[in-house]
Subunit: 340 residues, 4 copies
């Protein structure tokens, strides 16, 4: 690829936007030409985050609307804003990677309950490609509009895919998952005020969470089967990191082999022999999977670990962009975790 891709980041000063800028800054084939931020329009990114000084991005002013023409847009926007922004960009011929949830679920009737709005672009739902490269790589390559997966669904679907791919049958899955606080976004709330979040382990959205229908929908797209997901998310005192534990009843005992076989060629999914810590994936695009078959209860237990802002959001968005544009898939996202 000789030419540089011109990119616009909408919602550049939220957590997924900032993390995206971090990855894109070092991407050899990309230039961020516009960074949209309603909150900080008129300021420079390096005024907000001084470590951007000395990079070309420090010269880029944050604006209310894109200031220059571009080829591809990343949408790090609220769901309901993405809903209308995506179609207008697609009409103008732009490529779009949408990090919101506005186009992830194929059934438009689920949006009022789970997202609080009527889906006003139902026709477009069919054209949105679900951007989980390890599962939908070939479709993403041909896509012009990618719905970047939610963080929980990313961790969970990678942990379920080996079963789904092999046709292992089950009708229910229990997902118990733990997230770092950044998953809740940058907007301040009483509960996530530092003094109140320190030493706080808490469950939330126990009755329903919008990632439940997302998981169920994608499971159906892969396997053709209705599987019910019982999902209980938690937040704990760490900025980043996500660990999902997946439980399913099955008689398929060769779980480890299944996982090794499925992911042996993957750059960003690694099957590990000991339960992994999230610390090993922070700042990376990696997913670490620890599969186990429990003979006593006849259950497969899968532990899946990602960075909610990395593979769970921004680095996966870059991976999708790489596939859409025909770049080497790992370009710009081969980072090492910061340890300790």
């Amino acid at each position: 690829m000789e030419q540089t891709l011109k990119v616009c980041v909408y919602g550049a000063t939220g957590y997924t936007g900032i993390e995206l800028l971090r990855y894109l800054t070092n991407h050899p084939h990309v230039r961020v030409v516009s960074a949209v931020s309603k909150t900080y329009a008129g300021r420079y990114i390096s005024d907000l985050l001084p470590y951007f000084s000395h990079f070309y991005l420090s010269k880029l002013m944050l604006t209310e609307e894109p200031q220059e023409d571009f080829d591809l847009a990343f949408l790090c926007l609220p769901h309901d804003v993405s809903l209308s922004t995506a179609p207008s960009l697609l009409e103008k011929g732009k490529l779009v990677v949408d990090l919101s949830g506005a186009y992830r679920i194929s059934d438009p009737n689920l949006y009022p309950e789970f997202y609080g709005f009527e889906h006003t672009h139902r026709e477009l739902l069919q054209h949105a490609v679900y951007g989980l490269p390890e599962i939908f790589r070939e479709i993403i390559k041909r896509g012009r509009f990618v719905a970047n997966p939610g963080c929980y669904p990313t961790a969970v679907l990678l942990g379920l895919y080996p079963f789904l791919k092999e046709g292992v049958s089950f009708d229910k899955v229990i997902v118990d998952a733990i997230s770092g606080v950044s998953g809740a976004g940058r907007k301040t709330t009483q509960h996530f005020h530092y003094p109140e979040m320190e030493q706080s382990i808490i469950a939330y959205s126990v009755h329903k969470h919008r990632h439940t229908p997302e998981m169920e929908d994608i499971i159906k797209r892969i396997s053709g089967k209705h599987v019910k997901v019982r999902f209980t998310p938690k937040v704990v005192p760490t900025s980043r990191g996500m660990l999902a534990t997946i439980y399913l009843h099955t008689e398929e005992k060769h779980v480890e082999e299944l996982f090794w076989e499925t992911y042996k060629e993957e750059r960003f999914v690694k099957v590990v022999k000991d339960p992994p810590t999230t610390k090993y994936v922070i700042g990376t695009n990696m997913c670490l999977l620890y599969p186990y078959y429990d003979e006593r209860t006849q259950m497969a237990v899968i532990v899946s670990v990602i960075d909610n802002l990395g593979k769970g959001a921004s680095s996966q968005a870059v991976q999708n962009m790489n596939l859409m544009l025909g770049f080497e898939e790992s370009t710009g996202i081969e980072t090492l975790a910061l340890f300790p």
Copy 2:
């Protein structure tokens, strides 16, 4: 009760020992007359922890063996040390509350696999009372030897008891639980070195954990039924706190009512209407329970929250002592959480 109870704390400088001293210092009917510590023998507790100055305990030297006669011993010892210490104390007519796991499981054959030793006092296993007051209060009152429950089993059994009590039938339970780091004890390890534990969410003992047979055994004692527990513990970056999520298939939908009914008279168990944070129970003997019935998956989902060093260990030990001695059950353990 006119007289002051003389108490000896074995293993006084581990986390459960230190926490026990905190509660006992303010207990009006108790005097700690001996504090045993192999590691710090010859030193004063206030040399190690200066906030004990100005309390009578600061005058007490830590010793290798008890220095004065006593009525009741708390054993905050390694499992295999408690194994032999408890019988010798009982023989001398002492009351014993054992915070280790040496006498929690009634089947002696499980100890080699789960504790790494042959159980050398099988006859005594039948006399050890399982010290979960909300379930076994009357037995504890008559007990001379109490096996204080493990932290995970405490959180989980309180979450299961309403079902067990009412005879709700199920043959399998999934327990996904999160603990603060203090649950792993005071001994330093690489993984729990501060820089490596910060930002670290990790699963451990996925294949087996010694609290699994403890839960199954007590479930059987309560209900007479064999129930298999699938248990996956996690550690997250907080010193204290424990949150367990319990999943079970059942057609009993009136879960909330069941919980309110079961615990309406309890001082230390509270059924709450919103998912609770562990922050509300740190430094207390409280267990907060959030019950929910998920119609979609026909599962009861129970979130249970305790302080692993409080209700999960030391304050529960004091509660047991109160019952054994006929003190008011809540004496010395009516603390408020530190917030924030």
Copy 3:
């Protein structure tokens, strides 16, 4: 004291208010009869913080104005609200302990610069007793209106008092101090949003901080001398805790003796032989002081450690109340730190 003191807490749902309720709940001579909160009026404290259940306070509704007559008010209010609330209460004959800064500095002319308002009750400034018991105990006993000290001034003045008392001369002091995040209050801000405060060490108010004139004023009240304080506060990732390091040039080398001598009778100030951690004072009214004379640079270096919400605010307020009412000074505030 036979009778129970009726108390009203204004600003009951901020951090100092909540901490005050924690101490007052266990105070044998006090009953909180009103708890004022603009934000949460109409709700019960146990709705907000469920660990208050089972205490009499859980029955108390938060209200916009006091609902019952009382003897003494604690003001946990914004500075400018305390400014007018205190005089009206005093007029009605109430005793007042003001935890705000509205009456701490005796020179009214400093308020516009440091507090942003003209001081409208200048005459009252002379009647406000500065509530640092170890220095002003006798005056506090006779006081009807106590200005409870700021957290930094508490830590610093206790570290300077031995010099001031002995007439050791110096004209400048450097104070470098570190606070936990709760010192900034309960109001959410971007900077103290959990993900942004984790791994963040930051200096603030480097040019000026309202605690600087407070320290200088009290130094003058004690010693009659003008001393300039160069003060640089920091915030670090912990909810509670405060450590101040005080530097002053002096030829007085017998610093340790000076400190032992000054504080040998004090219940809540302890001179220690090793640099203390804040962890030893969290949840307590203790101040730990580590004095050192550095011969190389001819400087005294004092490390002072408190809980910013304890001795730095709420437990000190209770200590002041005890003195004002003639209760035993340590009543209700003899707590042990939570460790670990």
Copy 4:
């Protein structure tokens, strides 16, 4: 530079070693051919830290001694081990960057007191170049043996250099500095066990610290003057990050201009207009400086912020290597901070 530099990392599994491997992995002109670790000899780095999989380093076995010839060695060793390792490598014609303190201070007589050993290679002390590029760039370019600065001295000397360079006179400096826990190394200790370090702010080495003579020595090398440094380090609950506050009496009021002028051409030192958080430099080679002149006390107050494992250790070591080899100075160390 056409050829790839062969590098050996001694002490590869300590924190500075691991961080060095992170930077070197992405360095285009370098290949790590040996990684020495006494503790983990025989294992692969990717067994310990799975995120190294998919990089060439994952194929490299950790060994007791280097397994292949190399051009340059980084010594991430205990001081006394570096003491003897450095000379033997230099004799064999290797280039050496020593991250220990064995060769930082030019006066051999200070080592027994501050490092606990007699300096057995006094002649070599004169050849060790102090590796602070912003101050000694030209000397480093010609060096074959670089003593990489301590973390505190790096933060402090960059904050003093503008004064020293301009000949501003002062005879005493007060340094109050805060470090993350990783600065104390990877070896576990009771105090840095996670449950005991959480909520802990603590001062240490108040009487003396080995970085004091290092700072004084380098100040003398730069300015020719004896300046006494009063240094008080603190540790707070964060893995990484360092903030130093520097106080000095001076009549030079144009502090800000002085700093802007001194560092305007520097890639890795940035003068900022608001007090910076350490969060902006974590994972980078940046030093952020906030200079302020306090007219009231006639003191310059400088806040200096670095990553103790970055500019304070490993990325600075790479910067030194780049200079020694004639690579572009910023090669491989132009990273962005992870935020949040």
